[in-house]
């Protein structure tokens, strides 16, 4: 459903030009969970901005259901890393979630019901009237996830969504996202620097190379579902996959000649 074709982005021009990503190609199928990992500086955020229509690519294109993305499409929602800046501090939790449904791209008939459903799905009933700063970081990120779900997107992009919360909250939010993914039938693309997280959550993992980044490897993660923090992470297959991704990222030149 979402295709990245020959995607490249170069910042600046002439001698100072810096190519962040270079001729990326991959696709994401409906209902899939795709993790995108790469060494730091691999243009993950650039890729996400191009996929979401926030940034125009220099070459190539991203298509959603066959249509090229030039502006953020209504079929897409994004959860950013920094919840303290992505939520609107002057609105209550409820209004934050309802806002795109009342005043944004997807104006639906009953925003209040959609918001209530999404807030329930992320376990935030009872906090509707709070302001974002009154909640913990993990709870604020749940609000951002609820807002994205209430928007009823086909594709949900997540940019390092758990990088700003503590480890335990992180595990909870990972499982929460896997759960709502089934409930809302949404395709998810997760950009992360965390290899464990990408392997644990994804159906496939796209490994980017060092910049200028290309797709270095696409791995299918055929771990049993539903995933579980305790059971999945003790499987030898899990360990093998995460080691494989780790080697791809950290020491690509040493990897066995399986490509």
């Amino acid at each position: 459903m979402l295709e990245v074709v020959g995607l490249g982005k170069t910042y600046g021009s002439g001698a100072k030009a810096k190519t962040a990503i270079d001729r990326l190609d991959f696709s994401v199928e409906t209902g899939e969970f795709v993790g995108i990992v790469g060494p730091s500086g691999a243009g993950k955020t650039t890729l996400l901005k191009c996929m979401s229509g926030l940034l125009a690519p220099t070459t190539g294109q991203v298509t959603l259901n066959g249509k090229p993305i030039t502006e953020p499409p209504v079929e897409m929602a994004v959860v950013f890393q920094d919840y303290s800046r992505s939520l609107f501090a002057w609105f209550t939790i409820e209004r934050n979630v309802e806002l795109p449904l009342r005043h944004g791209g997807n104006r639906i008939k009953d925003p209040a019901a959609a918001a209530a459903e999404a807030l329930k799905a992320v376990g935030l009933e009872g906090h509707e009237k709070s302001y974002p700063w009154q909640l913990s970081g993990g709870m604020q990120q749940r609000v951002a996830i609820a807002r994205a779900l209430a928007y009823q997107p086909q594709v949900l992009l997540m940019d390092e969504p758990f990088a700003s919360v503590d480890a335990q909250t992180r595990a909870e939010l990972e499982d929460l996202v896997l759960r709502v993914r089934e409930q809302f039938g949404v395709t998810i693309i997760l950009v992360t620097h965390d290899i464990d997280e990408a392997v644990y959550m994804s159906d496939r993992v796209v490994v980017l190379s060092r910049p200028p980044s290309t797709v270095q490897e696409v791995l299918t993660i055929d771990l049993p579902k539903p995933r579980s923090q305790s059971a999945t992470k003790t499987l030898p297959e899990y360990a093998a996959l995460r080691t494989r991704v780790y080697e791809e990222i950290v020491a690509p030149e040493n990897r066995p000649s399986h490509v």
Partner: protein
């Protein structure tokens, strides 16, 4: 005195006690001085003057004209300041063009503007309104401009992702985000407005509180003079309080500083 950080009523009690002691000291001082010198009126004399002048015989003739000038001038500064601030914050070219002009104009000492303003606009209300508006608009312009420049990329990206655009983007996202900075500018400008009101009324006027104080001094009516000064102080306190009420209502979502 760490307990004062946590005790609101404690702060009130300490503040009230200190104020009472200072008033008592001033009272004793003026009582002793007034026996030998006419330039020190007693508290009783000042209070009598205050009651006879400001409650409420001169309200229509002096207080109201002063307040009207100030509100019109300050209001123009607020509206124009926010508008210009948004324009400068949104356009790099206009901002670069305006920066030297703004630095010069806002550096002119406010009182120095009065002679040219009198030449241009006479000694009526217009002079005071223009001078107040002119001087008060800079802090509002600069704070609004900075607020627009500080708008967060992630916040704006979120609005864009969810299709919040145009007028709705401005009213629902941009304006509330800049509002704390706008109020910072409004607070600074309010003190300037009161200052300029009084100055302009002393230099060129036929009524107003500033004119009254100046005239009382010229006529050696020291008790009237002090009564006018006290009224101006009270006015400043009340106006600042009213602005803080508006601010607290508009920014009621704002995270309290001690929660950060």
């Amino acid at each position: 005195m760490r307990w004062l950080n946590h005790s609101r009523s404690g702060r009130v009690v300490v503040g009230a006690t200190a104020s009472a002691l200072m008033i008592l000291a001033a009272w004793l001082f003026t009582e002793s001085k007034s026996e030998t010198s006419y330039i020190w009126p007693t508290f009783g004399q000042v209070w009598t003057s205050f009651r006879e002048t400001w409650l409420f015989s001169h309200v229509g003739s002096d207080v109201w004209p002063s307040l009207r000038r100030m509100f019109v001038g300050y209001g123009i500064a607020a509206v124009a300041g926010v508008a210009v601030g948004f324009v400068l914050g949104s356009s790099k070219v206009l901002d670069a063009m305006a920066t030297p002009v703004v630095s010069f104009l806002r550096s002119i000492p406010a009182a120095a503007l009065l002679p040219p303003a009198i030449v241009l606009f006479g000694i009526g209300d217009l002079t005071k309104i223009v001078v107040i508006a002119f001087v008060c608009c800079w802090p509002i312009i600069l704070n609004t401009r900075d607020g627009v420049l500080e708008l967060d990329d992630t916040m704006l990206a979120s609005a864009r992702i969810y299709g919040i655009t145009g007028v709705r983007r401005f009213g629902l996202i941009v304006l509330p985000a800049v509002a704390p900075r706008i109020f910072a500018g409004l607070r600074i400008s309010l003190s300037i407005a009161i200052l300029l009101l009084v100055t302009s009324e002393m230099v060129a006027s036929v009524n107003g509180i500033g004119y009254f104080v100046f005239l009382a001094q010229q006529q050696f009516a020291v008790d009237d003079m002090w009564a006018g000064v006290i009224l101006l102080g009270l006015l400043g306190v009340v106006l600042n309080y009213l602005l803080s009420l508006v601010e607290r209502f508009v920014l009621r979502w704002h995270q309290p500083a001690d929660h950060a």
